[in-house]
């Protein structure tokens, strides 16, 4: 259908549109017009991606700036899905417009997914694929080949040089699959085709890391222009991605390997001195003169790039004491030895970077300046030595990354040495964490560089937490309700077992047999009544294991087994995918199954349980983080001191966003239905931190339930939903009220109505409130739980006596620490 938002013609590839999609598009447009950032929460399964793409493509095609879209998602499958949507959209557009627009849309993912080289692509690990590919495609390999030496090259890569550099693939949209096929047909490397075409694309779809991880961003995203529209989809975990991209862990093992790498380098230098002294001399000369191989350093085949953010790169020449290759290697060795010495300590150390640097200098005479150049110097050396088995140098590279980071950043980072893996362990297995505590550091260049950054997800409540944590300003923040003609999902909060004992996964009553039995009974009841699949989320692996073994002892598992197959997620990815496969099979044919998984595991983040794959989702306990983690504690402290976010607020926000993720897993569309059970008394007070579309469906009667009451409600719900939903049901009076989707005429009616409303004295009231307004019409039946304080993380209920146990414990502990 084609409609207008203000003056902008939008082509939407479906005959019907959901009201929330329309509202979402209006807000997007406002953000783009204003040239700022926004945070938008759109219920899962309401066609977020297609709304986003239709609006932005319409925008870029309509206005003369032709702003490019950079769409970032998390997983391969999400990227592929988005590409497919884009392809369908472009096809629809050309059908409607009657001509094919000059348009390119490409996705980029790692070499591992896009490689065509017959032997390289069979490697299991992405790092090995990268390393082997580099060995085949590095600049010096080509030079050697030109000199007539016999070296291995990748024909797929070299073929690209025969093509026009700005037209490696024809215009149009390529899905990853499509790109692979095109590459195979034309014998050209899909990975490099996509990468080199980045700057010629109208739409780029790739993973977060290409923008957020400075190691990659520097190389891949450097040339993107300032007016690009950046979208982070599924962004509820974006702060963690940011933090991870600047954090690094070192172990004794990696240091040992790094030493070996340094020794290898030393040997290679000796060899090269004997055979080809000139090359080293050339490198040296360049470094002396401070010549930065500006473009070469960012070349596709670079061994590693600088791990720091572009603004923090030093522009001067490499310090004199690491100019010579052999001096640099000695420097690295000394640094590694120092780190090894630090690892010997048997108690926990927390240290700021400046303190680390001063101690380092005292002991080894290593200064900050050369340390900062480590990553760059190593890259240059590796290139000069023409090393091909680069994967051997990975640990050394890690050390160099660490060196550069710690010498660059003073605040927002903490060095934590943990000599033992657990509190009980007696054999030391030290890990040196260099932890980034400030999520805003990594994302800052993105906000500064691009005029519009859109952060969106199905579950990104409370919205104001993100601008706070990531330190940016928004043009608008919105959360949309889900318009439904009838209730297709039933969220409930269960706080008591049938015996009226309150249930919680809280620290103190964790292993209380009464609680465990009640959880068991809850699962058993739902196993009985739910058709097909049930997904159960536990706060942690440890807790899940404990509960399962206790259930085993109580005979609960045997009872459940008579109704459903039970499968368990494990930390091992392969085991989990096997379990998942079995689970799916069991749901396809048979009584269905139960999948027990963990709220922060792989399943909770990336796997959809649509339709019969998930009819009930059970959250057994609120997924609070393990607060004993020192990194978390440090981060909490940092957030408190720098962004005024209280520990409890952050922890409960974090728990609730994970719970919301889990709940969202089972509802993937409007024709889907499911039961959502939050089983922990602590959810009672926190329910208004859930995304608006879920929170609004939790009516007063659905909270504080006992197992029996919940079961009764669920049964009634299942009976009422017995018939599949017909999309776009007609309301009896034929008006637009109470519709879950509109056709073009209904949309235009709505627009007209809205325009006239705007004229009526309600000055300044613009489309921004379209959804509130629309909400009144669509979900008219539901009680409005939503009020101004929803999602406000500072609401008073945080301080009720009923506060979560963990939170109390932390608070107590922190006090003790302060006193002690």
């Amino acid at each position: 259908m084609k409609f207008f938002i203000d003056d902008l013609p939008v082509l939407f590839p479906y005959p019907r549109i959901y009201p929330e999609q329309y509202a979402y598009m209006c807000d997007l447009k406002r953000t783009l017009d204003a040239g700022g950032h926004c945070v938008l929460e759109m219920p899962s399964g309401t066609g977020k991606t297609v709304s986003l793409l239709s609006l932005i493509v319409a925008y870029q095609q309509h206005y003369p700036e032709h702003r490019k879209l950079i769409y970032c998602s998390r997983t391969m499958s999400e990227i592929e899905k988005a590409l497919a949507e884009l392809k369908a959209l472009m096809k629809y557009r050309s059908d409607q417009l009657g001509h094919v627009e000059d348009f390119r849309g490409l996705g980029l993912t790692s070499r591992k997914n896009l490689c065509l080289h017959p032997s390289v692509k069979r490697e299991k690990s992405g790092a090995v694929v990268d390393a082997r590919c580099r060995a085949l495609t590095a600049g010096f390999v080509k030079e050697k080949k030109e000199r007539g030496e016999d070296v291995d090259v990748c024909i797929y890569h070299d073929n690209l040089d025969l093509l026009e550099p700005h037209n490696l693939v024809p215009p149009g949209v390529f899905t990853l699959d499509g790109l692979l096929r095109y590459g195979e047909d034309h014998k050209q490397c899909p990975y490099f085709s996509a990468r080199r075409m980045m700057s010629f694309c109208n739409v780029i779809i790739y993973s977060y890391h290409y923008l957020l991880d400075p190691k990659i961003a520097e190389r891949v995203s450097k040339e993107l222009s300032k007016d690009c529209i950046v979208v982070f989809d599924e962004a509820h975990n974006i702060d963690n991605v940011c933090i991870e991209s600047l954090s690094i862990d070192l172990t004794e093992d990696s240091l040992r390997k790094a030493t070996r790498g340094a020794n290898n380098l030393e040997r290679k230098i000796e060899e090269m001195k004997a055979s080809d002294e000139e090359k080293l001399q050339n490198e040296y000369q360049k470094l002396v003169e401070g010549l930065r191989e500006a473009d070469e350093a960012r070349a596709e085949d670079a061994f590693m790039s600088n791990p720091t953010l572009p603004d923090d790169l030093l522009k001067e020449a490499v310090p004199g004491n690491i100019r010579r290759a052999e001096h640099f290697v000695a420097f690295l060795k000394r640094f590694i030895e120092y780190l090894k010495t630090r690892m010997k300590v048997l108690y926990v150390i927390q240290e700021t970077p400046p303190s680390f640097l001063s101690h380092l200098k005292e002991l080894t005479f290593i200064e900050r300046k050369p340390l900062r150049f480590c990553a760059e110097r190593l890259t240059s050396l590796v290139r000069t030595l023409e090393l091909t088995n680069i994967e051997d140098y990975q640990p050394l590279q890690e050390v160099a990354t660490f060196a550069t980071l710690i010498a660059t950043y003073e605040t927002g980072f903490l060095l934590i040495l943990e000599p033992f893996e657990t509190e009980q362990a007696t054999v030391p297995n030290p890990i040196l964490h260099f932890a980034c505590l400030d999520a805003s550091i990594a994302i800052k260049p993105v906000f500064e560089r691009f005029s519009s950054v859109i952060i969106t997800s199905g579950t990104i409540s409370p919205l104001e937490m993100y601008p706070k944590m990531l330190n940016f300003n928004t043009v608008l923040q919105e959360s949309y309700p889900m318009s439904l003609t009838r209730r297709s999902f039933l969220p409930m909060i269960v706080t008591r077992g049938s015996d009226q004992q309150s249930i919680t996964s809280g620290f103190q009553s964790r292993s209380d047999p009464g609680v465990v039995r009640n959880y068991g009974a809850l699962l058993f009841e739902f196993a009985k009544l739910t058709p097909d699949g049930i997904v159960v989320f536990f706060p942690s692996y440890l807790y899940m294991e404990m509960i399962i073994s206790m259930w085993q002892g109580m005979g609960i598992l045997d009872q459940i087994w008579t109704y459903k197959l039970i499968l368990v997620e494990t930390p091992d990815a392969q085991e989990t995918s096997l379990a998942l496969e079995t689970y799916r099979t069991a749901c396809e044919n048979g009584k269905g199954a139960i999948l027990l998984c963990v709220a922060r595991g792989k399943v909770s983040e990336g796997i959809d349980f649509d339709h019969h794959f998930g009819r009930t989702v059970l959250c057994m306990g609120a997924p609070f983080q393990y607060t004993e983690s020192r990194i978390l504690k440090a981060r909490l402290e940092f957030l408190r001191e720098n962004y005024r976010i209280k520990e409890q607020d952050f922890l409960s926000f974090d728990a609730m966003r994970h719970a919301a993720q889990c709940l969202g897993r089972v509802l993937r569309g409007k024709d889907d239905y499911g039961i959502m059970v939050l089983a922990d008394r602590r959810f009672q007070k926190k329910r208004n931190q859930l995304p608006r579309w879920i929170a609004e469906e939790i009516h007063e009667g659905q909270t504080g339930l006992s197992t029996d009451a919940a079961v009764g409600m669920a049964k009634k719900f299942l009976r009422s939903i017995a018939q599949p939903l017909v999309p776009g049901q007609k309301a009896p009076d034929g008006s637009t009220k109470g519709k879950d989707s509109w056709d073009l005429k209904e949309l235009e009616n709505f627009q007209r109505e809205q325009r006239s409303n705007r004229g009526e004295g309600d000055f300044g009231r613009q489309d921004a409130y379209a959804h509130d307004y629309l909400h009144r019409e669509t979900n008219a039946g539901s009680t409005l739980l939503h009020n101004g304080s929803r999602g406000d993380v500072n609401t008073a209920d945080e301080f009720d006596e009923d506060i979560a146990d963990e939170e109390f414990l932390i608070a107590e502990r922190m006090q003790i620490e302060l006193v002690g």
Binding site: N321, R323, A330, K333, T341, K344, T364, F365
Partner: protein, 261 residues
């Protein structure tokens, strides 16, 4: 250290104690021969003053205080750091002291070069000589044993400019030493002549107030001579001033008369 090394060499080379059988065994090293022996052996061999290193074949003589705990697992690094400490102490220049960053970098490389020479035992004699020369030229005390003898004049190389910052010529690119020009003392009279042309101040005056010596006038640091001087100056200062002459003199200098030069 190579891996085989670290496993086999964990025993005390003197008494053969092994930390695996003697938990808590601690080792000490010295920075002369870098032999590593257990604490017990240090106590036994060095309790009565200077002695030879007990490791077979090593005849370095040491004091007990020269044995210390090891910082780095790798003794090569331990030694390198020790060398570095010595060299850095001698060649201790900051970036601000150099003309350009390039010069500073060259200095850093030079230092690195010297350290590496000592570490890998190449050109040791030459390197040590350079360091010593530099130390003497710049008046840096190195070791109490080989420092410059008191009163010994630092050798000056003839080809060095006298204001070069490093008289030994080892380090290049240092900023020249700038001796600030001595400033004239402050003159409150701004160059006014203080010659007494019309009067003379006597060595002392007898002050009398109504015929009696006035002791009160001497109290509180009151300098009668100065008072007299000032009064006399006021009285006679105007005598030599001829305003017209001065005016015309000023006008002449202010408006230069055009003419052949």
């Amino acid at each position: 250290m190579d891996e085989e090394d670290s496993v086999g060499a964990n025993k005390c080379p003197v008494c053969g104690s092994d930390p695996r059988t003697h938990p808590g065994l601690r080792f000490k090293i010295n920075t002369k021969c870098y032999h590593r022996i257990c604490e017990g052996c240090v106590d036994r061999h060095f309790s009565s003053g200077k002695a030879e290193c007990p490791v077979g074949g090593c005849h370095v003589s040491l004091w007990k205080r020269e044995w210390r705990t090891q910082t780095f697992e790798d003794l090569k690094i331990e030694r390198e750091v020790e060398i570095r400490r010595r060299v850095t102490k001698i060649l201790d220049r900051r970036e601000e002291e150099f003309e350009t960053k390039r010069d500073y970098d060259d200095f850093l490389e030079l230092r690195e070069e010297l350290v590496m020479n000592l570490v890998f035992r190449t050109d040791v004699a030459a390197t040590n000589r350079k360091l010593k020369e530099y130390a003497q030229a710049n008046g840096i005390k190195t070791d109490p044993t080989d420092g410059p003898e008191p009163g010994a004049k630092a050798p000056r190389r003839k080809d060095m400019a006298p204001d070069a910052a490093d008289q030994s010529g080892l380090i290049k690119g240092l900023k020249r030493i700038v001796i600030p020009e001595a400033k004239a003392p402050y003159d409150p009279f701004m160059g006014m002549p203080r010659t007494r042309e019309y009067y003379e101040v006597k060595e002392s005056y007898i002050t009398r107030v109504r015929g009696k010596p006035a002791e009160a006038m001497l109290a509180g640091g009151y300098d009668f001579a100065q008072y007299m001087d000032e009064s006399l100056l006021r009285a006679f200062a105007g005598l030599g001033v001829f305003i017209e002459d001065e005016m015309s003199a000023r006008d002449n200098t202010a408006i230069p008369v055009p003419g052949p030069t």
